[in-house]
């Protein structure tokens, strides 16, 4: 079972408050426990471009898809047997990156 850990950034406090090395240590642990699938931090939502190919021609526009106080700062995809395992990992992930985390199960993964 795969879970997405969404790292929730806050525009009021965009600085990286994580303790030095904490995220690397958490990533190493995910890898050694066989739970790592993928993950990474993202640059600021100001650097986002939105692509819309629903019409004939793709349209590219500047900015994040939704303006809000909270934004996607990064994410992990982890392998966990069930929600309790995922929640325990997410508690450590939140501590490591010093941000709130949303935990959501994948509906399938390619």
């Amino acid at each position: 079972m795969h879970y997405l850990f969404t790292v929730i950034g806050d525009t009021d406090n965009p600085a990286d408050d994580s303790a030095p090395g904490a995220i690397d240590a958490f990533n190493d642990r995910l890898k050694s426990e066989g739970r790592w699938v993928f993950g990474g931090g993202l640059t600021s939502p100001d650097h986002a471009t939105v692509t819309d190919s629903r019409g004939d021609q793709p349209v590219f526009s500047d900015g994040p898809f939704v303006e809000s106080k909270e934004y996607l700062a990064g994410f992990w995809v982890v392998e966990a047997d069930d929600l309790d395992v995922a929640l325990a990992l997410s508690a450590d992930a939140s501590r490591a990156c010093h941000r709130k985390i949303e935990v959501r199960p994948f509906d399938g993964i390619a």
């Binding site: 069930d82 929600l83 309790d84 395992v85």
Partner: protein, 417 residues
């Protein structure tokens, strides 16, 4: 023709077996939704079949088998319709999957309880799910209890079941390390159910909902049966029975709240008082430090130990609140401690402590009601009147509003002391 004997058997079997049947079927099929429907169908079948043939020698086993067959029918039906997904998910992983590592106690009902009270669910969903799956209440009954539309309550339960399935909330008793926190979560759900019954909100409901207090007590008894060594489970049961013992004395014939000091103590339920005292003594005898519910139970034991309100050992009550405040330094605990201090050291001392809580408790009816009572006792009628007004505005309980209104109207007229 209705057979009163059979109705009694059905009611008893429903009470005793519902949770076990839901839990067993949910375990076998890995699906709460399937388990709920199959159990409801099995009970419906039992009503017809037992009326014709008489109840079977072992009703619990009969219901489990029948519900299992109903569930299997449904899974087969659905797997034919949606073969790929259903079979892959449900049959291979859940039925034939490796045995789950089990916690300290192996009872399916305990797993059911921990799943229904899982912290990933919203509190209102935990309450609804626990009452439906463990308590066996109908959706209509739960909707009525919480004053929401039946469709709203049905959606709440459906959403919770869908989340449990999609996010894979595990079907197991938590590890020893997580157990105390998770038991606390289960007890919180049951305490909220009890409190909603004990101080029912809503202008047109009964002030006390004995159906909810009774159900909460029944479920705590079940938890105690499953986790007999947990002190807080015993503490919560003691707290509930000592509170329930005073239920009928707590509201007057005219529907007005009767405060503890004015209750007819002869009207208290002696058996429940005795049970509560025995439970508190049982915990004291262990010599282990008490948790929050045990302390609240001990406070209630002191109150119910006094033959007359004037005999209450207030210094003991204050000492217990001191202990509680160390565990739970919340303003509500401080308010209740201040009420006891007012009895021990006088209303002016109590009032000073109450006033210090004005900021955090500005929106809490009991803060204003307490303040009003202390101001009244100090002869500060104008201030008392304003405090009663605020308390009446904030109270959602009909009996409490009636009591506060009378108290306010009995204050000497403005200008007098």
């Amino acid at each position: 023709m209705a057979d009163p004997g059979l109705d009694e058997v059905l009611a008893r079997v429903h009470r005793d077996e519902w949770a076990r049947v839901v839990a067993t079927v949910a375990r076998r099929f890995g699906d709460l939704d399937v388990a709920e429907d199959a159990t409801a169908e099995a009970f419906a079948t039992a009503v017809e079949r037992w009326r014709a043939d008489g109840p079977p020698p072992n009703p619990g086993a009969w219901l489990t088998t029948t519900a299992g067959n109903k569930a299997l029918d449904r899974v087969r039906r659905e797997s034919r319709r949606d073969a790929k997904q259903r079979q892959a998910h449900m049959l291979s992983e859940q039925i034939a999957g490796p045995p789950e590592p089990t916690g300290p106690v192996e009872d399916e009902r305990l797993r059911l309880l921990f799943t229904c009270a899982h912290p990933a669910l919203a509190m209102e969903a935990r309450i609804a799910l626990t009452l439906r799956m463990v308590g066996g209440l109908t959706v209509a009954e739960i909707a009525h209890a919480f004053l929401v539309q039946e469709t709203t309550m049905a959606q709440r339960i459906t959403r919770a079941k869908a989340k449990i399935k999609a996010a894979r909330v595990p079907w197991r008793v938590p590890d020893a390390a997580d157990l105390p926190a998770r038991i606390d979560g289960v007890l919180t759900v049951l305490y909220l159910v009890f409190n909603e019954g004990y101080l029912a909100s809503g202008g047109d409901t009964d002030p006390v909902r004995a159906d909810l207090t009774g159900e909460a007590i029944r479920l705590v008894r079940l938890v105690r049966e499953l986790l007999p060594d947990d002190g807080e489970v015993v503490g919560l049961l003691a707290l509930m029975v000592l509170t329930e013992a005073r239920r009928t004395a707590r509201v007057s014939a005219t529907g007005e709240l009767v405060t503890l000091n004015r209750q007819d103590r002869g009207a208290w339920d002696r058996d429940l008082v005795a049970e509560g005292h025995a439970l508190v003594r049982e915990r004291l005898a262990t010599g282990r430090p008490p948790g929050r519910y045990q302390l609240l139970a001990a406070i209630n034991a002191v109150h119910t130990d006094a033959a007359d309100a004037r005999d209450t050992d207030w210094s003991q009550v204050v000492a217990l609140y001191d202990q509680l405040a160390r565990l739970d330094p919340s303003p509500v605990v401080a308010l209740n401690r201040a009420i006891a201090v007012a009895e021990l050291d006088g209303p002016h001392v109590g009032l000073a402590q109450v006033e210090a809580l004005a900021a955090p408790l500005a929106g809490y009816h009991a803060f204003h009601a307490t303040r009003a009572d202390l101001l009244r006792r100090l002869g500060r009628s104008a201030e008392a009147r304003a405090a009663y007004d605020r308390a009446i505005d904030l109270s959602g309980n009909t009996a409490e509003m009636a009591y506060l209104t009378r108290r306010r109207d009995e204050l000497p007229a403005a200008g007098g002391r």
